[in-house]
Symmetry: C2
Subunit: 214 residues, 2 copies
């Protein structure tokens, strides 16, 4: 199985398959048909077969379906959820606090090991058992702990500066929660959590509903 | 200006334009060129002109550029950030708590007015000045307050049930933070905040970096 052939779109569907597979596994089920997945998610059966074939060497049999256990392992591998990915977060405000406290992330193989904040009052405190350091300690910490993932949870006005510091600290991938475009050198990935755009889509739908168009 | 002609892709770029325009406005600037935007965001100048023309009746002049103030108003209108959109949230755990406490949402025109939680211990408490009610009060509250937006911030196992309750309460748009596919009747929009997929993209990039491929 060559994970480079998995499309971005398929990657985005994988967490949904994975969640359902885990649920069925917990219920004691051992097999799932592509048809059931297709109905559940509103995809075509061909799409589901193609998605699952792209991540798994275990092909589904017509009428019998896919074996659940090996498929869970294969999808977790492709998603990278079985690796231990250490991350730091910059910004220990309300959003940073929440991300550090969120128990669900461990399931995805990411661990936030420390936070950095420019606020002198936050230096030295712990959030959910993880230390908050001053910004000046970031580079040393990231180098020593070989951190490759940085989470940006600061106000937009500070975000580019923080991003630059993360890049200087050796970070290779940035998960950006600030609503702005970050400029990074080639080879660094920025994954935006564009909540403003999500809200805009919700509002657009609501206006469509009240106009009678959508 | 007919907002229905604004593509989904353009809608997703608008928050970035808006943020930059607000920043420049605060700095006392009055005009921006499409070229500057294009360089800043890595889009083509034609793309920027097309995006801005799709939301604004004030066309940019070659060499002079776009006037910042009316453009801010136009983009905020298209995004729906100037309306007051009331929302309820289901799930007052760590994520729900964070979303309720996040001050940044007011800028986007959304206000979380109440939370609902199945946990008896949470009933009656306040989070950031907003009440937490039991699930049985949801339908009445949403009807009386004409709530159209519901935020799902519960564990995945409870999410579909919560989604069904929101639909029964008259919700027209759901902002889903649980990592699963929600099934809804026609006419209801589900906007997924698929953080698991975002993380998978980050991890994929990191493996690409260490493999020397990407």
């Amino acid at each position: 199985m060559d994970e480079s052939v998995v499309s971005k779109q398929a990657m985005q569907r994988m967490p949904y398959y994975l969640q359902k597979l885990k649920e069925m596994h917990a219920e004691g089920k051992t097999e799932i048909s592509a048809r059931l997945f297709a109905e559940m998610f509103g995809f075509t059966e061909i799409q589901v077969r193609k998605d699952l074939a792209s991540v798994s060497s275990v092909h589904g049999k017509p009428k019998v379906g896919f074996k659940i256990s090996p498929l869970i392992v294969d999808i977790e591998n492709v998603l990278g959820f079985k690796h231990e990915n250490k991350a730091v977060i910059v910004g220990a405000g309300s959003l940073g606090h929440a991300l550090m406290s969120h128990k669900g992330f461990s399931e995805y193989g990411i661990e936030i090991v420390a936070a950095f904040d420019a606020d002198e009052d936050k230096k030295g405190i712990e959030i959910s058992g993880k230390p908050v350091y001053g910004m000046e300690q970031m580079q040393k910490f990231c180098n020593e702990n070989r951190i490759e993932i940085g989470i940006v949870a600061v106000p937009q006005i500070a975000a580019q500066r923080v991003c630059d510091s993360l890049v200087l600290s050796g970070i290779k991938a940035i998960w950006n929660f600030a609503p702005l475009h970050l400029t990074v050198p080639r080879g660094i990935l920025v994954q935006n959590e564009n909540m403003a755009a999500s809200l805009a889509m919700l509002f657009k739908h609501l206006r469509g509903v009240s106009d009678g168009t959508d």
